[in-house]
Amino acid sequence: MSAGADKKDSPLWLDRAVFLAHSVALEQEAADRMHELAETMAVHNNPALHELLSSLAAHSDSHALDMKALCRNETLPRFKAWEYSWPDDESPEIFHYSSVHYLMSAEDALQSALEVEQSAETFYRDIADNATNPAIKQLAEQFATEEQEHARSIANRLSALKAGFQNDLSKDPDQTDFDPPHTPE
């Protein structure tokens, strides 16, 4: 249902305010989804994942704040959730529900986080490539670089984690589910 499919006249390339509204929403939604997942892990009494996802969420929060600060003096258009021109169904920096599972490991979580940062980077890069409005082009380039930065830092965490696994086997190679479902109602 997203309007992003039709690229030719994407308002993202033409209207700075529209572009910024998307940027704010992108960061905010990323943070909200990450908090939601972190909470879910808390509810499921998985403190490790809760902690990891919360820390990622905290980063997203600060990105969102930065973005809002940047737009402090702008009047941005208000979009309904479905009026954004995302390239896909959801904003690019969001964990898709089907990438989440209660058995997911820290590695899975970081891997997904890396992918969504990369997809955010692609999103901005694409705008930077296509926008004719120089102001948009410049901002998109800047944001793409920032996303690249986020991605790099997550990639670092991920390889540290992986390295850690090799050293102290802190990653569980054995994904067996020992926790059978039961029936609350």
Binding site: V43, P47, Y102, L169, K171, D174, P180
Partner: protein, 593 residues
């Protein structure tokens, strides 16, 4: 100490329930008896959970109400289980290093040991501290590596080979740890004489009451089951689903309970012994159709695995609060049979009996089981064949004049109250079964005489049931008679033992036939005791009210005089709780409820 309660508590995904299942099986292989109770948080899966395993050298049928050994992999959300895992000063606690903070409001246990199960697992290439813990406990219990291994293999049989091997490695690592850092308590559990460990395993079963209800039903000849899932009855149905085809029957998953019960009635009308299983909300929906079974005299077994009520209530916990619905919940005067299963293994017997009664008396039989009986696993000797058989006796149709078939009276008023039943396919037995009042010839009739005849017949046909030797289990002799039903029976027997140790002898009666109530037998037993205490797990004392309702209203000499103690779930009754009530009654002459 010849029995021992071990509770394992863990967080999302740690798998303590699986460890509990393995522990129970290892204990069985060791020749021990035991019971496993699982308990969970509100999440579907991946939430905190606990396994309570009680082991003994003699048969163990219920929980003790206290915990000897508490094994904690995760303290967060421990309070969810506080009702069920009472930590006392005498509890010995083993906690994982990674378990988090000891809860503030918990009493300090006798001894605490903090061990690094997670670290151990990780060292061995796994994240499963539950397995390290398992091996730690089985080692302490005296299981050989082989037994622990067999228990793991059994539970994980559908998993890949590497998973199984890794699991065994971790568990045996735990066993090793136990040698270095033993539990400050000796598992003085002498092996039962009949068993000597792993070689004798074939002699014992591990089963829960829901499965045994299924077994009892199928062995007695139930060949049609209609199912609508509901906690905690679903696994009766799921067990049957896996087996019924192999004996030539069918299970249908229905669209709702209304369909389920009516499907079972249809099959029963066809002469195929039929049942359905449900819990309170589902049985409430079945009420109208159960009345149809009564009026049309169609055999039907309905199993109600009770949970906490009213309404959706507390679906995963035990309560005995569907008694009223089972006994009184039909419209009109609708006599039917209500049984209660008296233990996990008795689920087998009672289901078989129910099937037999339903067919033999062309009647509705409700079986009250409960969440504890249904969902707790027990190590037990194989249950004996019940010998029950649900064979609907087909009418022998008389010949009339000149070889013509004589008129057939489906609802003939007989001495026994049981009328001759023709089954579809039987020539010359054609009739239309009816929930409308009818005469003996099955023709609708609103006449007073027909109504009274049919009502009386339907009541009378159940009368002789009270003569059945199966009406109750009665145990011991004492000046106090403790009356109970359902899962409280086994708890009461343990209370009886504890009281005997204190020099108090009581007799315990677990009533299996709740309706029609074998009143004379109960009165006789009450007559032999000085006092009677009726206990049950519901708020309003439903059974006690029922029993009291048979008092001949203070008019005759045979009044029913008894005390009662009742309280709702979700917490299970413990032997100690019953002991306290008995002592209180003896001391003060007063009961609490």
């Amino acid at each position: 100490m010849n029995n021992l309660t071990i509770a394992m508590v863990g967080s999302g995904g740690t798998g303590v329930v699986t460890a509990g299942e393995m522990l129970l099986r290892a204990a069985a292989k060791l020749g021990l008896y035991g019971v496993l109770r699982k308990t969970f948080g509100p999440q579907i899966r991946g939430g905190e959970s606990a396994a309570i395993v009680r082991l003994g050298s003699e048969i163990v049928t219920n929980l003790s109400g206290s915990v000897d050994l508490l094994l904690v992999l995760d303290w967060s959300n421990f309070q969810r289980f506080a009702d069920e895992i009472p930590v006392t000063e005498s509890t010995i606690l083993i906690e994982d290093k990674a378990a988090g903070k000891y809860p503030a409001n918990l009493p300090q246990p006798q001894q605490t040991l903090t061990l690094d199960f997670l670290g151990l697992a990780k060292t061995l290439g796994s994240g499963h501290s539950n397995l390290a813990l398992l091996g730690y406990v089985t080692g302490w219990l005296g299981c050989t590596a082989e037994i622990t291994e067999l228990a793991i293999r059994h539970r994980l049989q559908k998993h890949p080979q590497e998973t199984i091997e890794l699991a065994i490695t971790v568990a045996l690592g735990g066993t090793q740890l136990q040698l270095e850092q033993p539990i400050p308590l000796k598992p003085v559990l002498p092996l039962p004489t009949h068993a000597s460990g792993v070689n004798n395993e074939q002699n014992l079963w591990v089963a829960n009451g829901n499965q045994l209800t299924g077994l009892g039903a199928l062995e007695a000849g139930i060949r049609f089951v209609a199912a609508y899932p509901i906690t905690p009855a679903s696994d009766v149905l799921e067990w049957i689903a896996g087996e019924i085809e192999s004996v030539g029957g069918h299970l249908v998953q229905a669209e709702d309970e209304l369909a389920a019960v009516n499907m079972a009635i249809g099959a029963g009308f066809g002469g195929v012994p039929a049942m359905t299983a449900t819990s309170g909300p589902g049985m409430a929906l079945m009420s109208e159709a159960m009345g149809l079974a009564v009026a049309s005299e169609t055999p039907l077994v309905v199993v109600d695995v009770m949970r906490g009520g009213p309404s959706t209530g507390i679906p995963t916990k035990n309560e005995q609060s569907d008694f009223n619905l089972a006994v009184y919940g039909l419209h009109g005067d609708a006599p039917h049979v209500v049984l209660s299963s008296l233990s996990i293994s008795d689920c087998h017997f009672t289901a078989g009996w129910a099937a037999e009664i339903a067919s033999e008396r062309q009647s509705l039989v409700i079986v009250l089981s409960d969440q504890f009986l249904g969902q707790s696993s027990q190590i037990m000797p194989p249950t004996a064949s019940t010998g029950f058989s649900a064979n609907t006796e087909q009418a022998i149709l008389a010949q009339g004049e000149a070889g013509e078939p004589a008129p057939y009276f489906r609802y003939l008023d007989t001495d026994s109250g049981i009328s001759p039943l023709a089954l579809p396919g039987q020539p010359d037995g054609m009739f239309t079964a009816d929930g409308l009042e009818h005469n003996a010839a099955a023709i609708p009739s609103p006449k007073a005489a027909d109504h009274q005849q049919q009502l009386a017949k339907r009541l009378r046909k159940l009368d002789s049931l009270v003569e059945s030797p199966h009406w109750a289990e009665v145990h011991g002799q004492g000046s106090l008679l403790l009356i109970c039903w359902g899962s409280l029976y086994q708890v009461s027997l343990e209370a009886q033992t504890q009281l005997r140790a204190k020099g108090i002898d009581i007799s315990v009666m677990g009533i299996r036939l709740l309706s029609p109530l074998p009143l004379e037998k109960i009165k006789q037993a009450m007559g032999q005791a000085r006092q009677t205490l009726v206990i049950e797990q519901n708020q309003q004392g439903q059974f006690a009210h029922y029993l009291g309702s048979f008092d001949s209203q203070g008019l005759g000499p045979d009044q029913l005089s008894f005390h009662q103690y009742c309280r709702p779930g979700p917490a299970l009754f413990s032997p100690v709780e019953i002991v306290a009530q008995v002592e209180k009654l003896i001391d003060t002459g007063m009961s609490s409820c």
